[in-house]
Subunit: 342 residues, 2 copies
């Protein structure tokens, strides 16, 4: 986690902006502008060899490119004040393959702007399959590539996803985690394992009482600590972080003590109800140890600005998205500074 | 599950072929042939507007198209003897966006050949994010589409993924399940929730003893039964199935009794050690209630045939893949018929 911690320190800002667009969160004129571009490109490409797309694919491509333009505006607006973005792949996957392209483009663009990119993918599977998912971090194995003659952009590995860390689901046990830990070590990246999620029905599973007297999520917390124990960085945190929801402040504080070498990714701030006071206990005595995510609070700030007009051009609407997101990100930073940097 | 059960009855074959390719499982000349095609297409496209691909993307595209050609050979070889395929998205996701294209192409091609397609995606997230993942089943919402003028291929919904069922991870609780159940009802599809996975370290989590005296996976089994209770089909099984590994025969048999209205997807047959005897107890008295997956046992059968020669052409190698896969699928069918249709 040293790279993430350094970025947080440089900005004096333990917050991450969640890039989780939906159709309702993007001003409609952005999709319209993208649609015009796609139509022009489609006319041009239809002279070529592969322009056959179904109506659904065409609609999905338009949404996907709209998401990317929206994200680019947000990234440009916040890259000098926040250390990281969290990109929720579900929102992109909802659009099929075109959405996945927009996801990787978003991750790559954010990295180019100097941001640490957390891919919120919540993957988890067994042995060889987990190893395949771990290529989110490790990229294409060069030894496995049948086209070893192709030029490499990077000396160490062929990155395909452009993520610096990913989130992982622990339900499959260690088999599902080890390949990610190995990949994270190889590539100086990190993972965050789901421990205590912010949603109401997380209690169905995570609060179950075990025969040992612990809650289930506490047992998972101990496993996560173990899984990270041989990858401690210079800042005292391992490469294996934990997802701990802002909506559980007492539990989060107890977990902070229970797992002193585990960095927390804290979702649920803002729209889901978590406040700066709620998350303060999830930080260590030095104000490190956690990064707090806000998605709608930042990227939907334009809707609450009162400045949006349906007659705006796409560029005007994106300018509003950007200025509202920047102000919301500054407000969040300042709230967290007051609560955390005691 | 009625559609899947009908397909199984029609074939008298409760097995599903897992399309989980890796670089080592595809004859190398298939990648070479695809590479030549890609080079030609690349030359043609580079006259156009968007041919800029990195070396990694080029290598990934070659692998992805090789996977699709490999899958097509297997699908053509088994479509008249097996009712379903299970496509493990991790193997494709390992190749980045190009892999995702090959995944959806594989699913669509399998559906076109009449196969029921299980997307092994093991997704799971909270409310609005789970709803986004549920578009695997429900496709692009037409109301949400900004290009409502685009023609629809299907009256009911715009399918993007071409899956008939998907696998789901239960760690987030009901919030993460409900959107999938709703989507499955809307589109006459199904889901399979992870209950007891086939991998060794599943015990880290799934065998934990609860204060109630049950194992954790038994509690999850009861939740899964509940989640399906209002979607029973004509055959007595709900739309919410369970993943129960072949490597746990006694537990599988006990789960069969515990959840009489839950259809099982049973991985772990063959390469992972499960036998027809091991899985027999996971079926009901009528020989229904489960479908057994084999991946490497079918798609890697060509490697054990003794007939492969490195001098084979790509077409010759794919013919061998096809004939070996067909024979292995027939053998598995016959083993299951003996063990299950008592």
């Amino acid at each position: 986690m040293d790279r993430l911690i350094a970025a947080i320190k440089a900005m004096q800002n333990p917050s991450v902006v969640g890039l989780d667009p939906t159709v309702a969160l993007v001003p409609p004129q952005v999709f319209d502008a993208v649609g015009d571009d796609l139509d022009a490109a489609g006319d041009k490409a239809s002279a070529g060899y592969d322009a056959s797309e179904s109506g659904a694919q065409r609609a999905a491509s338009r949404l996907a490119m709209g998401y990317f333009e929206f994200n680019r505006a947000v990234i440009d607006a916040v890259a000098d004040i926040v250390p990281a973005v969290k990109v929720q792949i579900a929102m992109y996957e909802a659009l099929g393959p075109a959405g996945i392209d927009a996801y990787t483009m978003t991750c790559e663009y954010a990295q180019q702007q100097g941001l640490y990119v957390i891919g919120d993918i919540k993957r988890g599977d067994i042995g060889s399959t987990a190893a395949a998912y771990a290529q989110h971090l490790s990229g294409l194995p060069q030894t496995a590539s049948p086209s070893a003659d192709a030029p490499h952009e990077d000396d160490s590995y062929d990155d395909l996803w452009h993520e610096d860390a990913v989130t992982i689901n622990p339900y499959l046990g260690a088999d599902g985690i080890t390949p990610f830990v190995d990949a994270a070590k190889q590539t100086d990246k990190g993972i965050f394992v789901l421990v205590r999620t912010s949603n109401p029905s997380s209690k169905d599973i995570q609060e179950l009482e075990l025969a040992s007297g612990e809650c289930f999520y506490e047992h998972v917390a101990d496993l996560v600590s173990d899984w990270g124990s041989d990858s401690l960085g210079a800042e005292g945190y391992s490469r294996v972080g934990a997802v701990v929801g802002a909506t559980h402040p007492q539990e989060g504080q107890a977990l902070r003590e229970r797992m002193p070498h585990t960095f927390f990714l804290v979702p649920g701030f803002g729209a889901q109800g978590g406040t700066a006071q709620d998350v303060a206990g999830m930080f260590d005595a030095d104000g490190s140890g956690a990064i707090v995510n806000s998605s709608r609070g930042i990227i939907a700030a334009w809707k609450k600005s009162g400045e949006y007009r349906s007659g705006m051009s796409a560029d005007e609407a994106l300018d509003l998205v950007a200025s509202a997101a920047r102000q919301a990100a500054l407000n969040m930073r300042d709230e967290l500074r007051v609560a955390v940097y005691r």
